[in-house]
């Protein structure tokens, strides 16, 4: 196995694993939709880094983390619903990108290009993924409790504001990483699909996140290995495999739910 393939596989496994793990929390909070606008906010950053020849992450992360902080801040100050705020941020991201992005060079930003990932970028992707996994593990039960009832969470000493902030930062980090793997357009799929697949067939919390991580990571390994066989870009193949897992989970859940006759 050549070194580039190892770097691609390692970074794919960490990015898709952390995205799927966070995705289970986002789905239970009905927040997977937030990932989409945030991922589009990576476009202006990616455009700048392509224009001026920086590493992709130096352009992407400041924009997406800045966007997350802005959503959190505006959410507190304006009391506007998160969906509305992210839609505004989304429009700002795409609008700005279309003004400055050289369209002929946009492919890398739009659909990702993990086959060219460098050693330094792989290292950064692994470190950021581990940070997200630690954040999510710390937040998991607390956010689940907030999902059930925010007042009970507050009474039990959970600082819901700080947790919302940490949560949005985690989403921003995963979205930034997702740009490498699948590009700006379909990053949300990395968080939404494995969680949806798992929710269809899980009845406990532990199986929920385990199945999500398994299908997320399996899809990305599959994508990295299968895409070159068809000279296809890796990102879209990963998403297609994820969708196949999701379809299978729908069928399995229907079989489980259908009462046996006789």
């Amino acid at each position: 196995m050549n070194n580039q393939l190892i770097l691609t596989l390692v970074s794919s496994i960490f990015i898709s694993g952390s995205a799927a793990y966070l995705g289970t929390l986002m789905l239970s909070r009905k927040m997977t939709i937030v990932a989409d606008p945030l991922s589009h906010l990576t476009l202006p950053g990616a455009a700048l880094s392509i224009l001026y020849g920086f590493e992709l992450f130096t352009g992407v992360f400041p924009f997406v983390i800045g966007g997350a902080i802005l959503i959190w801040f505006l959410g507190r100050k304006t009391k506007l619903p998160m969906e509305n705020l992210t839609a505004i941020i989304f429009a700002a991201g795409v609008g700005t990108a279309l003004l400055i992005l050289p369209i002929d060079k946009a492919e890398e930003a739009l659909v990702g290009n993990i086959t060219n990932i460098s050693f330094a970028e792989t290292l950064i992707a692994v470190l950021i993924s581990i940070t997200v996994i630690v954040f999510v593990a710390f937040m998991y039960n607390k956010i689940m409790l907030m999902n059930i009832n925010e007042d009970i969470a507050k009474i039990r000493g959970i600082n819901t504001n700080s947790l919302d902030f940490l949560y949005l930062i985690s989403i921003a980090l995963v979205v930034g990483l997702g740009v490498y793997l699948v590009g700006s357009i379909i990053t949300a799929a990395l968080v939404a699909i494995p969680a949806g697949t798992s929710k269809n067939i899980s009845k406990s919390v532990s199986s929920y996140w385990r199945v999500a991580i398994f299908t997320g990571v399996a899809s990305s390994i599959g994508g990295v290995l299968i895409a070159p066989l068809f000279s296809a870009p890796i990102g879209p193949v990963i998403i297609v495999i994820n969708v196949i897992f999701f379809t299978m989970s729908v069928i399995v859940s229907e079989i489980i739910r259908t009462p046996r006759k006789g």
């Binding site: 239970s28 689940m144 999902n147 059930i148 009832n149 009970i152 507050k154 009474i155 919390v205 199986s207």
Partner: protein
């Protein structure tokens, strides 16, 4: 608007100073600039069941949440010391967890991941639920089972004060009575102090030490149920279409 202030009966006799568990003085709460609670004063003692009674929109839930520290207020709320508090909010039912893949065991471990299976089973038994439901999905419980499970979920935190906001909403008469007889048993055994929001006058007469009544018009009253819950006070609270039949028997 007249502020109410009625000193709690001193159960230990006049010779001993009894510091109330909770002292509320001139409490006012505004939400989005609307005055919800205006100049309210009352006391509550340890082991009391204080029922908060009143029509929809009178501020019962707001009062409960203010006492729990969830809303800002003007006036004074003084607790005798720091207590462990348990809270069952209004409207928390099996539909609240419909979208979550949570077993009953998961549900308990959300608040304390160190709780063992045996600990949880003990508390489930206390409310008459079998250990086998531990692995059942929380959203698959019936309404009555879910309420009983919630009660054991709150009790496992060993609260000294329980805040219950209409704990039987959505249950039929039988289900509601089961919850209240469970509560009475637990109250007697654990010597809990309970703050209870309910519309059910039978419960008010049967279980309350004191009643605090609130109305949208700013009317409020405080005292022992059979002393203050007259046709007149109920009319002032709910409007003149309310008719009551007084009864003297106790719910066992």
């Amino acid at each position: 608007m007249a502020a109410i202030f009625l000193q709690r009966i001193n159960w230990f006799g006049d010779f001993k100073m009894n510091i109330p568990l909770l002292k509320v003085r001139n409490l006012s709460v505004r939400l989005d600039n609307e005055l919800i609670i205006d100049n309210l004063s009352f006391d509550s003692g340890e082991g009391d069941v204080l029922t908060i009674l009143g029509p929809n929109g009178a501020g019962k839930t707001v009062l409960l949440k203010t006492l729990l520290g969830l809303f800002q207020y003007e006036g004074e709320i003084v607790w005798q010391k720091k207590f462990r508090m348990g809270y069952l909010p209004q409207g928390l039912n099996q539909l609240s967890v419909k979208e979550l893949p949570l077993t009953i065991r998961d549900f308990f471990n959300l608040s304390d991941k160190n709780l063992s299976k045996a600990d949880i089973a003990d508390y489930l038994n206390m409310v008459g639920l079998p250990e086998e439901i531990l692995h059942k999905k929380a959203s698959n419980l019936s309404g009555g089972q879910f309420k009983r499970m919630l009660l054991s979920w709150v009790l496992i935190g060993k609260p000294q004060i329980l805040f219950l906001d209409e704990p039987t909403t959505g249950l039929d008469i039988g289900g509601g009575e089961t919850i209240y007889s469970l509560l009475k048993r637990i109250h007697d055994k654990e010597k809990l102090t309970i703050f209870l929001v309910t519309h059910d006058l039978n419960i008010v007469y049967g279980y309350s030490t004191n009643v605090l009544c609130l109305s949208k018009l700013g009317y409020s009253c405080f005292g022992k149920p059979n002393e203050i819950l007259t046709s007149k006070t109920l009319e002032d609270m709910f409007g003149d279409h309310i008719k009551i039949f007084e009864h003297n028997h106790q719910i066992k």
